[in-house]
Symmetry: C2
Subunit: 421 residues, 2 copies
């Protein structure tokens, strides 16, 4: 029986464990899981660390890793996963498209303890491309890809079920600048248009749900038609796909299958709240997993920052799960260092939203007290990245050990302690 | 006659020039300047590049540079100013507290074309400290410091006029964790408490305003009691000081003196909008100059990111002017590289707020079109930091020149161009 079905009968060990971490009454969490408003991705083959994503919980973050055809070093990708988890990634997605993809996935599942996600359509498309063209992908390629990943222990999978004849035709008649920028979305849209056939993940959605039921992985309903620039944001094709996804969430829930809903992408600051509200109404509170969002197009090299701005605001308004963005986004496959920078930025965004909603505020108070006491050891230990903070402090040693080289003897905190209190 | 008084009579050359840059009708801008809702800092001795700050204009950013007792290399500080202006700083503040402060200020005025700000109380306090204690500062030290900076051509000055007996006593009776963290605020609060005298910049505010009138520099009314941590944010002492500042804004306007109002500091995401709204009502639309704000205390080493999150949201809600934060904040005096990172992050925040309010959206559209066309040369040229973007792209060269090493042959944009349109 799936976790969701078990949750409908009573508190499960998974719910008990997550409730403790989140400091939420287990019965309240049970109701949220049973209703599909909180998802705990958990494939028994992998049996990952437990992680709750959704309403009322601390915001979670995901880090993407994975090879490409141009660069496929399995050891480096595993190192990226390790570094990502070290700096706070709650889940890892393996988006490999180069080298030995099966082996990569299996090693990640074996070596990484957090929940692992994948996008099985990549592999199906690449397999077809090798034989000739992605347009030759068969329905069997698609579904057997999903089953293979399920058997390998993948905890959640992105499937672009909302890319349909109707939503793709909406893209064609739109005035979008960037058409489609999701890899999975492009594969499926091209396939649908070229063959004039419906997306099998949509027309045979029940089969997909049965598979998810059997292996008990979570479905992450992918936004294959998410806009690729600020000008295209929150447009008709995006919303058309979301409405379709809303219907699919309900059908999965009826079968006890957990669903997450993926969202944009590129969103200007003034449209972020609307994006969250609409997802929460249309998908009846399903956890919202946003990709960034990045809030301007002009900052390649700094998209970890544009993503942190968008992610913080989205999470503050109710997004539950942030996909990180690295400084390499739009430019190249990230390095290990890029992954670290992306994770830290995303973790900051999640935390910022948490404390604005009254969750996990103790850390900030402890830092404030350490600062007031000029207790540098404690300050460094509380910091999101103690090594970097230490480096910055030591780089320019102040004469007095208790202050820093910014103000030196005219340290406001020191003077205030002497004269104000 | 001051710029503000001239604006009340008709369109001045300064207003004409700023109106053109901002693409705003000159008459509308004239009314805003005359009312004090837009400030154009402009000391004739310096005669800087014209820069409008306030209602309806693109958001502006400031970069702080300056020596400290522990580290005072004049050449390095000048290099910081140059780099800051290169990456988009609209103004520079020289906050030097070490080495030859007078010479530093004069060289900055001479070599930097954007408006220059200072905080004269620093120098007055250091002068007194050298003789014994900052508590020995005389009223004459304070005012003659301001006059010296005015004569040197400083375009705007931070003066902490709202740190008064009443507002400081409000700090003492508060349950703040971090008491006072503003350097100028601490100097004055200590002085007031120790001597049981009123802040001369408050009790003799008319004299300060007359000086500003004579030399026509803008007053930046400093928030000496701004909270120093998330827990203290938007508290009574902060608001008490703001109410005092609101009254002072009106008195300056009556004399034709331009005023900017400084704001926090440390503000959680859920209090940013309130901070902007309150400043705009209490100070009758005076330009709001926020320091960051940073939105969590736990990220030293990454406060350019926490500041960009807070700054973007503050500016979206109406803050007009963002003081950058560098990664070195809370840790050490920044290096040239830190200054660059701080400026870029702050510039991104300002731009993100601009496009969310419909200003300067063309750049993003041009980037989106370049991405759709896979025109890498154009993408790099539009980027906020073309050198960094180029470095990232070249680091991992893709086999095909038109894509990038992230997706390689499975580039969504390339496939969509082939099959979707």
């Amino acid at each position: 029986m799936t976790l969701m079905r078990r949750a409908r009968k009573g508190i499960t060990p998974e719910i008990e464990a997550v409730a403790e971490v989140e400091r939420m009454p287990a019965e309240r969490l049970r109701r949220l899981v049973a209703a599909g408003r909180v998802v705990i991705p958990f494939n028994q083959v992998h049996s990952p660390d437990l992680c709750g994503i959704g309403e009322g919980l601390a915001v979670k973050i995901n880090a993407n890793i994975g090879t490409s055809a141009d660069h496929h070093d399995m050891k480096e990708e595993l190192e990226k996963a390790t570094v990502a988890v070290k700096y706070g990634a709650d889940t890892i997605m393996d988006l490999s498209t180069g080298g030995d993809i099966d082996e990569m996935r299996r090693r990640i599942v074996k070596e990484v303890r957090v929940p692992i996600g994948t996008v099985p359509i990549y592999q199906a498309a690449l397999k077809a491309a090798k034989k000739g063209s992605i347009l030759d992908m068969t329905e069997d390629d698609m579904f057997s890809g999903v089953e293979l990943h399920a058997k390998d222990g993948i905890d959640f999978m992105t499937v672009h079920c909302g890319v349909t004849k109707a939503s793709v035709s909406s893209v064609k008649s739109s005035s979008r600048i960037t058409d489609i920028v999701s890899r999975g979305g492009t594969f499926l849209a091209s396939w649908i248009l070229h063959r004039d056939e419906e997306n099998p993940f949509y027309s045979n959605y029940d089969y997909l749900v049965e598979m998810a039921q059997e292996y008990d992985f979570a479905l992450s309903l992918g936004d294959g038609l998410r806009p690729g620039c600020i000008s295209d944001a929150t447009d008709t094709p995006q919303l058309q796909e979301l409405l379709i996804i809303g219907g699919l969430v309900k059908r999965a829930r009826e079968k006890g299958v957990q669903t997450i809903v993926e969202g944009p992408g590129h969103v200007p600051l003034n449209q972020i709240e609307a994006n969250v509200r609409v997802e929460k109404t249309v998908c009846e509170g399903a956890p919202f997993y946003v990709l960034g969002p990045i809030v301007t197009d002009i900052a390649p090299g700094y998209d970890h920052i544009t993503g942190a701005i968008g992610g913080a605001l989205a999470a503050f308004h109710g997004a539950d799960y942030l996909c990180y963005v690295t400084p390499a986004e739009h430019l190249s496959l990230p390095t290990v260092e890029d992954v670290k920078e992306g994770v830290v930025a995303s973790k900051i965004a999640a935390h910022v939203a948490d404390i604005a909603r009254g969750i996990n505020v103790e850390q900030d108070d402890r830092m404030a007290r350490a600062r007031k006491a000029l207790d540098w050891e404690k300050m460094l230990s509380i910091a999101v990245d103690p090594e970097k903070a230490k480096l910055y402090r030591q780089r320019r040693k102040p004469k007095d050990d208790d202050v820093c080289s910014m103000c030196g003897e005219v340290c406001a905190i020191k003077i205030a302690s002497d004269y104000v209190r």
